[in-house]
Symmetry: C2
Subunit: 399 residues, 2 copies
């Protein structure tokens, strides 16, 4: 931990937003599951709140596939609230007045952490597909280095939804001694065949786009002139990937309730414009996504998701992943209409936690909003988290 990063300073709540980019010291590297070693690792992070004197109130918030480190407050680029600002903020379950909250962009991401769009210092060009393939465990390793840097030995809580929940599970498997509690929302301990299939459709859509150029779109065009612009990326392919994925984030009931067969205009176009509101909505989801996300990062992070199978490294028995985590308090939440990571996946996690002798609370929340419910206004989720985190705080001796 360096002095500049000391988060135990006393400040008023309004001044306690921090963050930056942590760079792994020169000469050191991150060992990856693939066997590769990554030098020059950078982890972009945000913090909210202040680390207390005994360093016992740190909460690590882990983001999903297309999330970022701006979990709370206001996003600097979009001006919109952070992606989990319904759960993180004053008087919310995770509260900067009580917790030192850390959120980092995952390894492989595109909002500041090392990923395929970062510059490979050995070439001066973006890594592209020469970036090493990474796993959920690699993301967690990078987060652990960030915590070391921030002087956080033990997390009061690691919490995440969707892919963030997978990181929380991986924390419990790999660093149980650094965890007091863990919250896993709308997640799974492994990617199912259907999950892999949808991710593969997205990857194929990106790689089918000629502007993808084998992943080299980020490199400066080698045209002999001084053209400084980066090449155009595979925007159309990435938009199609996002559209397909977005359907899996919503339930059929939610799509029907929100859009049904409502038209954009009076009558249909008798053509291939967006006649139905749901078409227009999906196109909008696709076209706005390409402004904020890197196509190669999408490939790498979906690959990490597909490779995720926590039981596999433990002889195929999920419970064995948690045998060292008996002191950790777990809370698992799922949503009835989530068909991306259905309740059965959460029950599978809870069964394994019980078999391992861990204490695990589980709530299946009634919602018709599908997988995206974890990002939306779900009072039962908020109350369940407030209850779990409050009880854990008491046990931890936090005020």
């Amino acid at each position: 931990m360096d002095a500049n990063a000391d988060p135990t300073r006393e400040e008023s709540s309004a001044d306690t937003v921090g963050g930056g980019v942590y760079r792994l010291p020169a000469g050191t590297s991150l060992s990856l599951d693939s066997g590769a070693r990554l030098e020059g690792l950078e982890i972009a992070y945000q913090t909210y709140g202040v680390l207390n004197a005994d360093r016992s109130n740190a909460v690590l918030v882990c983001h999903a596939l297309t999330g970022d480190q701006y979990a709370a407050g206001v996003h600097p680029a979009s001006g919109k609230p952070g992606w989990w600002s319904r759960l993180i903020g004053p008087c919310l379950p995770v509260d900067p007045a009580r917790h030192f909250i850390i959120a980092s962009n995952v390894l492989g991401g595109c909002t500041g952490s090392s990923g395929p769009s970062s510059i490979d210092l050995s070439t001066g060009q973006p890594w592209g597909l020469t970036f090493p393939v990474i796993t959920i465990a690699d993301m967690v390793r990078a987060q652990a280095l960030l915590l070391d840097h921030l002087g956080v030995g033990t997390l009061f809580c690691v919490i995440g939804g969707s892919m963030g929940g997978m990181q929380a599970l991986q924390w419990a498997a790999d660093y149980p001694e650094r965890l007091f509690s863990a919250v896993i929302v709308a997640s799974a301990a492994r990617h199912s065949a259907q999950n892999i299939a949808f991710n593969e459709v997205g990857r194929q859509a990106i790689m089918a786009d000629p502007d993808w150029r084998g992943g080299d779109y980020g490199a400066r065009a080698d045209r002999g002139d001084s053209q400084p612009d980066r090449r155009k990326g595979p925007e159309k392919g990435l938009a199609v990937a996002r559209m397909a994925a977005h359907i899996t984030y919503l339930s059929e009931a939610a799509l029907q309730r929100k859009f049904g067969r409502e038209l954009q205009r009076d009558g249909v176009s008798w053509g291939f414009d967006a006649d139905f509101q749901v078409e227009s909505y999906l196109r909008h989801q696709g076209s706005t996504f390409v402004d904020r996300f890197d196509a190669n990062s999408y490939l790498y992070i979906t690959r990490a998701l597909d490779y995720f199978d926590l039981a596999q490294a433990h002889g195929g028995v999920l419970a064995r992943a948690f045998t060292r985590a008996r002191e950790v308090r777990f809370c698992v939440l799922s949503f009835t209409s989530d068909w991306l990571y259905p309740t059965a996946e959460s029950r599978n996690i809870v069964r394994a936690l019980n078999a391992a002798g861990c204490r695990a609370g589980f709530v299946e929340i009634e919602s018709d909003k599908g997988h995206d419910a974890f990002l939306l206004d779900e009072p039962v989720m908020r109350e369940a988290l407030a209850g779990f985190i409050g009880a854990a705080a008491t046990a931890r001796g936090l005020k």
Copy 2:
């Protein structure tokens, strides 16, 4: 009906496969829902069996999105059994020894019927996107003209699965006086928001492919030389569309049972090759599809599906679509794991049939095979159809 088409000839069962292309006589045209009129209509069809003397044993078999007129026997291009050869054949529910079976390629299709890849006689070039947008009702109108040509006044049965079931429903709404019975398998009376959303992903994947060229890929290249080859179509986009759609044809359970997380090789590639068997399977589905299907036809037929809403033309009340169909016997079948057209959609149809005073049998078949179950070996489906069609034959006085 012309003399050459007379299907009442007495022949042995082995010699009773017929078919060809019916061309609408010059000077006549097909009126479409869009208001356009289509001249030069061609309908490619196959027949199996012989029309009996009182012309009472005709069965019209309607195909799904990517099907064709080769419902039984052996497909001339692939050498594989016809797509519904599990239900159509000797001693099967639809039997060429007892029925005169007609299957035609839908309007807008790409295996011989008029569609966007057909030649527009006024230009000598493929229609491409100048082909008029068509509906399920337009497909049924074209089928009715084919039946006129074949001398079939009344159908003993119209039967179809998926989009074929929609055509059967449209027949009941538009030509109830020409129907004795109707079978609707794994279908719906309207496309849901989720159905439209998945189709839109497929269309966007095709239209994002630069080889689509605004739909003009079928035209001969205008290069000033005598290059006779057609331009390459949007193969990558069409493959992605097929991959996304294919996931919706299978259940999560079927994907997990067939593929799970099984790898192609020992260990993962740490790259973006097809590591998992489910990826390889999906890629294969995509790459083989482009050899047999036209991308513009995919656009037009998915559009017809999305526009389908049988209640809409009847004041929003589905039962009213069937008020003239009280004499028709209906059989509705669904599969428990079909999430493309779930059982709730079939129940909706049955409720409307009951409300209209029609006789309707309904069976929900237990299967984990998803939507594609209607094309697979499902003994309960076969037995239900044998029972329904046998009873209808008795009532109709067929031997």
